[in-house]
């Protein structure tokens, strides 16, 4: 086999492998059974110390998780179920802060920090002294 053919073949194989993985990711897995638990991890157990109702073994949590399961079975949406609990217990019951109101800043600050950090690194590069010719170590030296 000539070098060109071998390279071409290797490229095709790489792309094919990547395509299989990406296709599998897009199809994804069926996670319907976990909706109750997923909602449970977003709701704080009111009698525990920072645990969610999905994690805590306490009676209160078990009862609350049963309510979640009932509502999921009744076909209510995630938002409806979360609203049900925030109406009763206040917004402090959520472990999952919403992207609005008092917790909007919580989500935005990290994004601002990221932007600041990126700007800083880019600035570091621009301030460089006269660019030197890149020195590549020979061969495989790191």
């Amino acid at each position: 086999m000539s070098e060109a053919v071998r390279r071409w073949l290797a490229g095709v194989i790489t792309v094919a492998l990547a395509a299989v993985v990406v296709a599998a990711m897009i199809i994804g897995e069926d996670t319907a059974q976990d909706r109750v638990l997923a909602l449970g991890t977003r709701i704080k157990c009111p009698v525990c110390q920072g645990e969610s109702i999905a994690e805590s073994p306490s009676e209160t949590s078990t009862a609350m998780l049963a309510v979640v399961a009932e509502k999921v079975a009744a076909g209510e949406s995630d938002a409806q179920i979360i609203d049900y609990f925030t109406d009763r217990y206040g917004s402090g019951i959520l472990l999952d802060p919403p992207f609005r109101g008092r917790t909007l800043a919580l989500w935005l600050t990290p994004l601002l920090a990221l932007a600041g950090g990126v700007a800083l690194i880019l600035g570091l590069r621009r301030r460089r002294v006269a660019p030197r010719a890149p020195v590549e170590p020979a061969g495989e030296e790191r």
Binding site: A10, I13, T14, L17, A18, V20, V21, A24, M25, I27, G28, E29, T31, L37, T41, R42, K44, Q49, G50, E51, S52, A54, E55, S56, P57, T62, G90, S91, G92, I93, L94, L95, D96, P97, R102, T103, L106, T109, P110, A113, L114, G117, V118, L120, I121, L122, L124, R125, R127, R128, V129, P131, R132, P134, V135, E136, P137, G139, E140, R142
Partner: protein, 681 residues
């Protein structure tokens, strides 16, 4: 008597700390040729005092000396030996005694290392700063958080201790029985191992801080302080990593829902400094190799230490409720003041000296090793920032507006997952990008085969029937990272073997010994990749179920048959265990007989679950008792965690990589000119 001895130990340590601070700074300024004898007595006084305090506390616990308030409230005659020992760090005051001892032992190590060097002004100044920190710890121990207070009044029936007096030689009352440790803390032997390991890491970060401050004080720039700081950071980092993993293991074995990480404030308190220490270990390599980032390195070391104080404040002052938090105490304000002093003092000193120690930022190209490490540092610092923010946010909102908001696991998970994968990408490719400016062709040549290996691994997982995106991504990276390291080792060894004519295996071992920092790093990177895979698997493919059973019932769950044979009650000296015997079968093969229990401790009405786990390479079958009735009816929480051992194996490998770099480092590392040195990350 024991209390008096222990208290005198604390006082001796406090006085020695003060002497160490004064003598250390003086020796640094005076600069005698041989100053080691100047510091001998303060160092020995500190170590002996701290050791006496710890031994006295253990003696009090083991001898059931209930005239000591701490013993009466945290131990009992029926507490087993191991948990009596561990009770020493099961509550606030005792854990500070351990803290003081660990700090004293670090001081001793620094002093021993420094005595070998002859004139060492930097080391003397660092010992001075260590003296200041240990003075704070021992003054707290002698005043507001005194582990050796004596009991002046017991509760009804001579149990526990209701009132206590500060001075251990005042008249005391000894009860007949103590309360015993918190039930959660006497439920698993890891309680004896996890806190001390974590403390070594946590307290160990004081040493890098002391060296950084010493370098600032003496306006020393360059590699000297950095090498020593890096080496101490690495030691602390290894123990911090191990401590965090052991904590996860403890939580998995004890808390009864199969979780190992909950973004609990105390977990966050250990994780934040870990992130910054990790960032520093990387950026220090850039400074050693390229002479840049010096100011940033100072900031990282100072911030990592400040976060250990902040973490201690958050979890020991009662401002945050968590599984780990101890009762409210007066130590909160003291820690907050200390944090302020540390921040103002260190940042003030930094601002005064910054122009002397800062290096000119010269980055030829972002597509280079230093570029990759900058990205890694940005991500790690951002990660630490997000964890701090999420931990403090509810406090801030409550202080400002009085509203309560909850920030928990869903928030942290949502931010941590993308950050972690970005970090893993930088971690995978970074070490194979040359310094200064890389040509894409060179990098591509190094990564193309490993890239295919990663893809093959992911395709294999698809063929096994998994299509979850996170699992596939994590599998890809695990294969990619391992193949990259193996390829690099192979290529390096083959070139060396061709030159020297030896065998490739021998040359591979030699190559690893020649640059332990680089290859230890590679080992840690592999560990992180496996850890990520283990986390992705446990988060996305665990199976959970609850069954209610009576004796003789069986149920099928996740490919297993679970048969409930009989309930049992076992009376042990310190607890009563209500349990169920459960047989687990796969097909016709009996895999395990498990005995999940609910433990009722004498000291508490609350029962504590004690789950039973059958571990195998395929996964863990995890059974927790949710309820137990006298007529034999039980409810079982069943979990199947496939490949969960990857989490532990990955995390321990990460720590082992650090230990490799630490233990294999070249002795007698005399300063050499930076450009010639092969420093890897």
């Amino acid at each position: 008597m024991i209390a008096t001895v222990g208290f005198l130990g604390v006082v001796a340590a406090a006085v020695s700390s003060a002497a160490l601070a004064v003598r250390g700074f003086h020796a640094s300024a005076a600069g005698e040729r041989d100053t080691s004898h100047w510091l001998r007595y303060p160092v020995l006084g500190l170590v002996v005092g701290a050791a006496v305090a710890m031994i006295a506390l253990e003696a009090g616990l083991l001898a059931d000396d209930f005239s000591i308030a701490y013993v009466a409230n945290n131990s009992a005659t029926t507490t087993p030996f191991l948990y009596k020992v561990a009770s020493a760090w099961a509550a606030l005051e005792g854990s500070l005694v351990l803290w003081g001892l660990v700090l004293a032992l670090f001081v001793l190590s620094v002093w021993v290392g420094r005595a070998r060097r002859g004139e060492d002004r930097l080391g003397a100044a660092a010992l001075g700063f260590l003296g200041v920190v240990s003075l704070f710890v021992f003054v707290i121990l002698a005043t507001i958080s005194n582990a050796f207070e004596v009991c002046t009044a017991t509760y009804q029936g001579g149990i526990g201790c209701a009132r206590s007096a500060a001075l251990p030689w005042s008249a005391s009352v000894a009860g007949v029985e103590g309360f015993g440790p918190n039930p959660l803390l006497q439920n698993h032997p890891l309680m004896a191992l996890h806190p001390p390991t974590l403390y070594v890491g946590y307290v160990g970060l004081t040493v890098p801080f002391a060296f950084a401050m010493a370098a600032l004080l003496r306006a020393e720039s360059g590699d000297g302080w950095l090498r020593r700081t890096r080496s101490w950071t690495r030691i602390a980092w290894v123990f911090l990593t191990l401590g965090i993993v052991l904590g996860g293991l403890w939580s998995y074995e004890v808390l009864g829902w199969g979780g190992y990480w909950a973004w609990d404030p105390v977990e966050n308190a250990s994780f934040m400094p870990w992130l910054l220490a990790t960032a520093f270990l990387h950026s220090a390599a850039v400074q050693l190799r390229r002479g840049v980032l010096q100011s940033w390195n100072f900031v990282l070391v100072i911030a990592a230490f400040a976060l250990t104080i902040l973490g201690t404040f958050l979890t020991r002052s009662g401002v945050i409720v968590s599984v780990h938090s101890f009762t409210q105490s007066a130590i909160g304000p003291a820690l907050l003041w200390f944090l302020m002093i540390v921040l103002v003092g260190s940042l003030g000193l930094f601002a005064m000296r910054a122009h002397l120690v800062s290096s000119s930022p010269r980055l030829d190209s972002l597509f280079s090793r230093e570029g990759a490490i900058l990205v890694n540092n940005l991500l790690l610092a951002l990660f630490a920032f997000v964890v701090i923010l999420g931990t403090l946010y509810p406090l801030i909102v409550e202080a400002v507006s009085g509203d309560t908001v909850g920030v928990g696991r869903p928030f942290f998970d949502r931010v941590a997952v993308p950050l972690s994968f970005a970090l893993i990408l930088a971690m995978a490719v970074g070490p194979f990008v040359p310094y200064r400016a890389a040509r894409p062709g060179v990098v591509w040549q190094r990564i193309r085969h490993p890239l295919r290996a990663g893809l093959v691994a992911a395709v294999a997982v698809v063929l096994l029937g998994r299509r979850n995106g996170w699992i596939l991504l994590a599998t890809f990276f695990a294969g990619f990272v391992v193949a990259l390291a193996i390829r690099q080792l192979w290529v390096t060894a083959r070139a060396a073997a061709a030159k020297a004519g030896g065998s490739i295996v021998v040359e591979a071992g030699r190559a690893m010994r020649r640059d332990p920092a680089y290859w230890g790093g590679q080992l840690s990177h592999m560990g992180v990749a496996f850890l990520a895979l283990g986390i992705a698997l446990s988060a996305n493919s665990a199976v959970r179920g609850t069954v209610e059973m009576t004796p003789g019932d069986s149920a099928s769950f996740a490919g297993h048959e679970v048969a409930y044979t009989a309930p049992f009650i076992r009376d042990l000296p310190n607890k009563t265990a209500f349990g169920a015997t459960v047989e687990v079968r796969r097909g016709s093969e009996l895999v395990a007989v498990l005995e999940p229990r609910l433990n009722q401790y004498a000291s508490s009405r609350q029962t504590v679950a004690s789950p039973a786990v059958d571990s195998g390479w395929r996964g863990d079958f995890y059974v927790a008792l949710a309820s137990w009735d006298e007529d034999g009816a039980i409810a079982l929480d069943l979990y199947w965690f496939p490949w969960i051992w990857l989490v532990w194996a990955g995390a321990f490998t990460t720590a082992i990589g650090g230990a490799f770099a630490w233990l294999m480092r070249r002795r007698n590392a005399a300063p050499r000119p930076a450009p010639q040195e092969a420093v890897g990350v």
